[in-house]
Subunit: 281 residues, 2 copies
């Protein structure tokens, strides 16, 4: 039976360190503050916002929740971003996405002040991921994966890692971040041949395809660590990952559950970025 790499313990360890940092900031008169910008009442947005509110609140990070109508004009959204950019009491800003079709996402992302970009949507943050230097923040989900691997002592230097999925939100940044940690990363996707065999050759397998059932028993071997980044809603409304957990778990060394794995760490990483942004002011 595999070791279950639960996110709660990782988040708790991160929170302990963060609390001390928030305390130190408050003693200097700085209260870390996050603005959350939402358009409408999409269920996914509301769920993520609830998680962020709970996590930040528990850490003593203040929140400003801004909700515009789903059909808001782009100018209204940009005006809110300008206001947040100019407000020195706000250290970070999270814009819930995807945005509705009347909004040009590139324009919106470019408008946010880079030093408040705690969710990694500006060019500066992307260049930081790509080059490994400069200002900005790493995207929360890839960083959550690294936090889990580090917390559970999974060695990265020299490890062979397959990342399935090449999205800008998870797969692509995670591949570069793992490479920067000296892993040998193979970037896999829908056009990869012999995907199961290729994955079976790796020390670490990371599923970020966004499709339930992507990884089954043919993809794994004993000794392998499996990280499941998928969050897919089943027809019964139940959350499942990209990995067939019941068939894979008995075969591998360690695996993250869904829910309770990567997703349980993401908002804590977001909170850590707000604290870092407040420290950098």
């Amino acid at each position: 039976m595999a070791e279950q790499l639960k996110g709660a313990a990782v988040a708790a360890a991160l929170c302990e360190k963060l609390s001390a940092r928030v305390q130190a900031l408050r003693e200097k008169g700085v209260i870390p503050r996050l603005a959350i910008l939402r358009l409408g009442e999409e269920p996914g947005d509301l769920a993520y916002e609830r998680g962020a509110v709970k996590r930040c609140g528990g850490l003593g990070i203040e929140l400003e929740q801004v909700a515009l109508p789903r059909d808001a004009e782009q100018a209204a959204l940009l005006a809110e971003i300008d206001r947040i950019n100019a407000d020195r009491s706000i250290h970070g800003c999270l814009i819930l996405r995807p945005l509705p079709p009347q909004i040009d996402e590139a324009t919106v992302c470019a408008r946010l002040a880079p030093e408040k970009d705690v969710d990694s949507i500006t060019q500066g943050s992307m260049c930081r991921v790509y080059t490994g230097r400069g200002a900005g923040f790493i995207p929360c989900t890839p960083q959550a994966v690294l936090e889990i691997l580090d917390y559970y002592g999974v060695e990265l230097t020299g490890a062979r890692v397959a990342v399935i999925g090449r999205s800008l939100v998870v797969g692509k940044p995670l591949s570069l971040l793992l490479q920067a940690r000296n892993a040998t990363v193979t970037m896999c996707h829908t056009k990869t041949r012999d995907l199961a065999r290729l994955c079976r050759e790796q020390d670490i397998l990371i599923a970020a395809a966004g499709h339930a059932g992507t990884v089954d028993e043919r993809f794994v071997h004993p000794g392998q660590t499996v990280i499941d980044v998928g969050t897919n809603q089943g027809p019964d409304g139940k959350l499942t990952g990209d990995v067939c957990f019941d068939r894979v778990e008995p075969l591998v060394r360690a695996i993250t559950p869904v829910p309770g794995g990567v997703g349980a760490v993401t908002t804590t990483v977001l909170a850590s970025h707000v604290v870092e942004a407040a420290e950098l002011v």
Copy 2:
């Protein structure tokens, strides 16, 4: 005996298309113009500049060669960049690097107008490589590798590719560009275990380590295409690649020579960026 993937034929085919585009621009009264900025008389800089001058001149692209002393102050270099940014007759600017230690390279790269960044040194160009969209230009050497693979009909979709080296000039951008072309890329480096075996499993092997002798007969198999991006100066002054050509060439399907391979295409790619920049004005 392997097919030799010579760069000259690739460059000639590119030049033929470019000549027609330069002609069309000139008929509209636009003369594509490249500024080359150099500090001092470093032999590598002079060699690259000579190549660029020859290639651009042959295509009807005008040149402005600016040479500052090697010990020039940063302010003097920035003033030149500002002048070039403001000069509407100049469409592209190449700054020969690495720069001497009194110059902060990041500051210099950030100063160049993104639309004139034909050598891919600004944040905008890096984001284009990373995200696959937006304005900017792809770095010349990685694009030269893609031009060679395309010219000789090497299929990329689904191909397994190892890239040895993770520099920002070649390895990292090339890995992302190949992934965007649907190859399954493994990013290899000095910490990769069993490098020879891993490379032997690939359809295409790209050596961009910057060390002569990195790839020998243990790294290859029949059917493999080998691209050698290395340009290393031997003790005898002779240019050699990263691949032990004499030992690898008899074993593989196809291989680029050094010199006469990738290096023979790079300045033509640079010229194509100047033409594109002129077309975009």
